[in-house]
């Protein structure tokens, strides 16, 4: 049986265009009327208070939002000009092209470090059986974890520290060679040192991937993001809206909207 070619390392990062997007749970919009362009090879940060719909917006970018019972979307998300919500789109393929890392590290508890990294590659029989240590090494190197785990590939994924687990999840997401990486508050459960390690990693991987990160931490947005989008809701219980988007430096130095300034200066949120 011929082994399928390993995924190439050269997939061009894609762009995303959110067009007039409204995402709802059980008919109640959580975030409404969003238009947002996400440029390749950049880090775009979504910031805003709790309930502003930034996580929901992020989960719309790979369609994971629709896997929740009662969830719906209107509008479009264009992945390199093709609407991921078009009738003929393939959710499995889109989720593979648009990878995701979650708040809490989620290594599969029954799998070793190596099997965790290769988990995505074994889907859809993209990869034959075998140790595939080379592919594991590639992905772990990209996630900056290789030196720390190279002697522990057979250890359970859950035996690593929290920060290492999160980088393991990043390695797992990168192993399937996505074009875009979504990160939903990836550092909110990590200590400051691990947080800085992940931020360094984000700055590195944006050379090859398009990165969108949701963060509660404005300093983090300022440290890693090229573009920052600020979302908020007019009142509690109303859907979140995109207030302002621009180069991170400008958003933090001279915001154009009063609400942005209030949030950044700590008056709200």
């Amino acid at each position: 049986m011929p082994t399928p070619a390993p995924p190439s390392d050269t997939a061009a990062p894609a762009r995303l265009d959110v067009v007039n997007l409204t995402a709802s749970y059980h008919g109640r919009p959580a975030v409404a009327d969003v238009d947002l362009a996400i440029e390749p090879r950049q880090v775009t940060a979504l910031i805003g208070p709790s309930g502003s719909g930034k996580s929901t917006l992020l989960r719309c970018l790979n369609g994971l939002h629709l896997t929740v019972p009662g969830a719906s979307v209107t509008g479009s998300v264009l992945l390199d000009d093709a609407d991921i919500y078009a009738k003929d789109s393939n959710p499995v393929e889109i989720r593979q092209r648009v990878g995701m890392v979650f708040q809490r590290p989620t290594p599969f508890p029954t799998m070793s470090v190596r099997d965790n990294v290769l988990a995505g590659l074994h889907l859809g029989r993209r990869l034959g059986r075998g140790p595939h240590d080379d592919l594991a090494e590639q992905a772990l190197t990209k996630a900056g974890l290789w030196p720390e785990v190279k002697d522990r590939l057979k250890a359970p994924g859950g035996s690593l520290s929290g920060g290492q687990q999160q980088r393991l999840c990043i390695a797992r997401a990168l192993a399937v060679d996505p074009e875009i990486l979504l990160m939903d508050e990836p550092c909110s459960h990590l200590d400051p040192i691990s947080t800085l390690t992940i931020e360094d990693l984000i700055r590195e991987i944006k050379e090859t991937y398009t990165v969108v990160i949701v963060t509660h931490n404005m300093q983090q947005a300022a440290r890693v993001a090229d573009t920052t989008a600020f979302l908020t809701m007019p009142a509690v219980g109303e859907p979140g809206r995109l207030v302002e988007v621009g180069p991170t430096e400008r958003i933090f130095s001279t915001p154009r909207q009063q609400t942005t300034e209030d949030y950044i200066s700590g008056k709200i949120g």
């Binding site: 994971l64 499995v92 995701m100 508890p109 799998m111 889907l123 859809g124 999840c169 997401a173």
Partner: protein, 331 residues
């Protein structure tokens, strides 16, 4: 107040007073807990005591070295050969339970996956209720249904099995005909349906505890729903599924009336073929205790009961050990 001397004994008393402020309640629950132990021990003692005359007369192990159960050949004096061999009943219990497990566990896992992961929200509750309702059907009704509905329905399949696999090399004896209906196979089928609800209910609980984050991680890697279940849900649930299966096995081993009605109650020797009639440890007791007039007959049925208790205890203990060990693997 004079301070208490600081000895371990006084410390224990102080601790006890802070913990137990309601003596009556404490003794009441202690008595309830003790009752459980008393019932278990008393049952075991009763069985062995009642079986004792037969055990003493024939020897403890002679029951397990014969598959011939022929009460009419028993006399008050002859000790050898033991006319009350019980190996065929152990075999019957093992085979029917095994058939039930092989059929019920995969179906229960599939039903639970459907109920927790696939079924539309509005359907989940009513369908779960229906599955639970299967457990509410009385055993004797399952027996009736087995005789008058299931046996005619599976007869063609049984005949086909005996014609094809019955003469196959190696496995032939397991499927040898003729197939008259009452058989290990039908007993196993009825048992499978009877243990399906308990296994399904536990698997459902187990699957529901898998964190959403784990499932979404798999989906986000590009998994289809089945791949997500295989990657995130099933591995995490392995110990739970084992536990559910063992509980089902516990029920299958002890189930009596429905099995007695469909197994054929053939006691004279082992029937190897799953298409042939036989008896289980519990079915022979139910079938014969009212007319056990031969010497040592009733006492020998007690021996069967005692061994059944031993087997049930072993099944449960082994199962719990497996569950505990696999549980640690995951934690």
């Amino acid at each position: 107040m004079t301070p208490l001397a600081d000895t371990p004994a006084t410390r224990r008393r102080v601790r006890a007073r802070w913990r137990d402020t309601d003596t009556v309640f404490r003794y009441a629950v202690r008595a309830a807990a003790a009752l459980v132990v008393v019932v278990l021990v008393a049952t075991a003692v009763f069985l062995v005591a009642q079986a004792w005359p037969a055990l003493r007369h024939y020897g403890i192990l002679s029951f397990l070295s014969s598959d011939r159960w022929a009460p009419s050949e028993a006399t008050t004096t002859a000790r050898h050969p033991n006319p009350y061999g019980i190996v065929q009943f152990v075999y019957g219990t093992a085979v029917t339970s095994l058939i039930a497990m092989v059929l019920a566990v995969p179906v229960a896992v599939a039903v639970s996956l459907y109920l927790t992961e696939v079924a539309p929200g509005w359907l989940r509750k009513p369908l779960s209720g229906l599955v639970d309702l299967l457990a509410a059907i009385p055993s004797v009704v399952y027996g009736f249904w087995g005789i008058f509905a299931l046996i005619p329905a599976v007869r063609p399949a049984g005949v086909w099995l005996s014609r094809t696999l019955g003469s196959a090399p190696g496995i032939g004896p397991v499927f040898a005909g003729p197939f008259f209906g009452v058989s290990y196979l039908v007993a196993g089928l009825v048992l499978a349906i009877m243990i399906l609800p308990i296994i399904t209910a536990i698997c459902r609980e187990v699957f529901a505890t898998v964190p959403t984050a784990d499932k979404e991680s798999a989906l986000a890697l590009g998994a289809t729903r089945w791949e997500m279940l295989r990657m995130a849900v099933l591995p995490r649930s392995r110990s739970g599924i084992t536990g559910a299966a063992v509980l089902g096995l516990g029920r299958a081993v002890g189930e009596t009336i429905a099995v007695t009605m469909v197994i054929g109650n053939s006691v004279l020797s082992i029937t190897k073929s799953i298409l042939g009639p036989g008896a289980t440890m519990s079915s022979v007791i139910a079938n014969e205790f009212t007319e056990s007039t031969e010497p040592f007959h009733l006492q020998s049925l007690m021996v069967v009961g005692a061994w059944l208790l031993v087997i049930a205890l072993i099944v449960n203990t082994v199962g719990k050990l497996i569950v505990r060990r696999t549980g640690e693997d995951i934690a």
